[in-house]
């Protein structure tokens, strides 16, 4: 079967890619478009580091055939990072030591972004519930929770 062209909106820009059947959004982002902020961890749905927002909803790009999201809006970590400096959530992660090896960070930050978009002032429990699908082997999560709380404060006072 020949490849197909799939068009979608990525980080505010319309893109078109040519893919083989069942190519995942993760493969398209990393290998076709060379946007490598979205990581590849387990490709089993278990680690969450490949999380992107599809129409604002956190989804696992490793399990998502790109054809399924044709015409839809995808936002990756590159999409929220300003040209200069960092997004307030990124800055809060940096300042609170919530990034050690950093492999989980792109996924966790996208989830926190989706959470704060819906709920600008989440409780600790709500933050824990939100990141339950993201594994971090370094931080022990405590710095991530602090960073998320700090990010909420920064965004509210901004």
């Amino acid at each position: 079967m020949p490849s197909r062209i799939v068009a979608f909106n990525l980080n505010g820009r319309d893109v078109e890619v040519m893919v083989k059947p069942l190519t995942t959004l993760q493969t398209v982002l990393r290998e076709h478009l060379h946007l490598t902020a979205t990581k590849s961890g387990c490709r089993q749905g278990g680690c969450g580091t490949c999380t992107v927002l599809v129409n604002g909803e956190p989804m696992l790009s490793c399990l998502l055939p790109v054809e399924d999201i044709a015409g839809q809006k995808v936002v990756t970590l590159e999409g929220i990072t300003p040209i200069e400096g960092l997004h307030p959530i990124q800055q809060a992660f940096f300042d609170n030591y919530a990034i050690q090896c950093g492999y989980c960070s792109p996924g966790v930050i996208m989830v926190i972004k989706a959470l704060l978009d819906r709920n600008p002032n989440p409780t600790r429990q709500e933050i824990m519930d939100a990141i339950a699908g993201n594994v971090c082997r370094c931080t022990g999560y405590e710095p991530i929770l602090r960073a998320a709380e700090d990010a909420a404060r920064r965004l509210q006072s901004a």
Partner: protein, 279 residues
């Protein structure tokens, strides 16, 4: 061998046509949270795949006294209805946020144990499953009859699940998933129950268990034991022992069969005690 073709039908009709045309070489998937990991790993190497995300089967509506859930409604969608709070509770205990955004209600009926944490709640509520095929049209069967064995169901090769229908519960419901962690974790045992009482006696009882059998199962001996009796500490304890005796757990990386059986007794007891406390 790489996947040769991927179909995304825009309607149930198109999907059923594709199923007839391609036969068993076509792998069906909805949210892909079970199917895609296997494909990524090379454990499953389908020639052709059909995705149901755009087949128009994802609405949730109330029809008289019944909640009608489209097969491809996501777990997140189901968590947003509030006609049946037990189903919201079940959804909260499945995967993480991303899995709930992708995984579907229909897909959960095919999840091998210890997954099936929604299906067990549907089983306790006497849900029915609607199956569609090109040749025979629609048929509706009890979810209990849908499960036939470990990773086998009553679904015929030319059929798709289109809907799950759940009658609004008449009695009290309870749900508990016991696992090693609080969230995003496989079950050691999941218990879902629906108990109807009249006066102080139980007139109808459903006690469904997951992760302690080849598929979500009903503890029918324990259910029978409760009918006609008051729901008190003594009867609850007898029912919990019976449920533990009749379940059929196996050992995996999460727990041994011995531990699962012990915990079945503990958590059946706790769920039922909790129902009494609600009074």
């Amino acid at each position: 061998m790489a996947v040769q073709d991927y179909f995304l039908p825009k309607s149930l009709d198109q999907a059923l046509d594709l199923l007839v045309e391609h036969g068993p070489s076509l792998l069906v998937m909805a949210g892909g949270t079970i199917a895609m990991p296997l494909i990524n790993d090379g454990v499953s190497m389908p020639e052709k795949v059909m995705g149901l995300r755009h087949a128009g089967l994802n609405t949730i509506r109330r029809d008289n006294g019944t909640l009608v859930i489209g097969a491809t409604a996501t777990l997140t969608q189901l968590g947003q209805q509030d006609y049946i709070p037990m189903l919201q509770e079940a959804v909260r205990h499945i995967g993480g946020w991303q899995i709930r955004n992708m995984g579907t209600v229909g897909g959960n009926l095919f999840a091998p144990p210890p997954a099936g944490d929604l299906a067990v709640a549907l089983l306790a509520l006497d849900a029915t499953v609607t199956l569609a095929s090109k040749k025979r049209g629609l048929r509706t069967i009890l979810l209990q009859e849908f499960f036939t064995g470990f990773m086998t169901t009553a679904l015929a090769p030319d059929e798709l699940v289109t809907e799950v229908r759940v009658p609004l519960p008449r009695g009290k419901t309870g749900y508990v998933k016991y696992a090693r962690k609080h969230a995003n974790t496989p079950a050691i045992v999941t218990v879902a129950t629906h108990i109807v009482t009249e006066g102080n006696k139980v007139v109808d009882a459903r006690l469904a268990l997951n992760a302690v059998g080849p598929h979500p199962i009903r503890a029918q001996r324990a259910e029978k034991l409760l009918v006609g009796l008051p729901l008190n500490a003594e009867n609850i304890s007898l029912a919990a022992k019976e449920a533990a005796a009749e379940c059929d757990p196996s050992t995996d990386a999460i727990a041994t069969d011995w531990y699962r059986r012990r915990m079945t007794e503990v958590f059946v007891r706790r769920v039922l005690e909790h129902l009494v406390e609600q009074e």
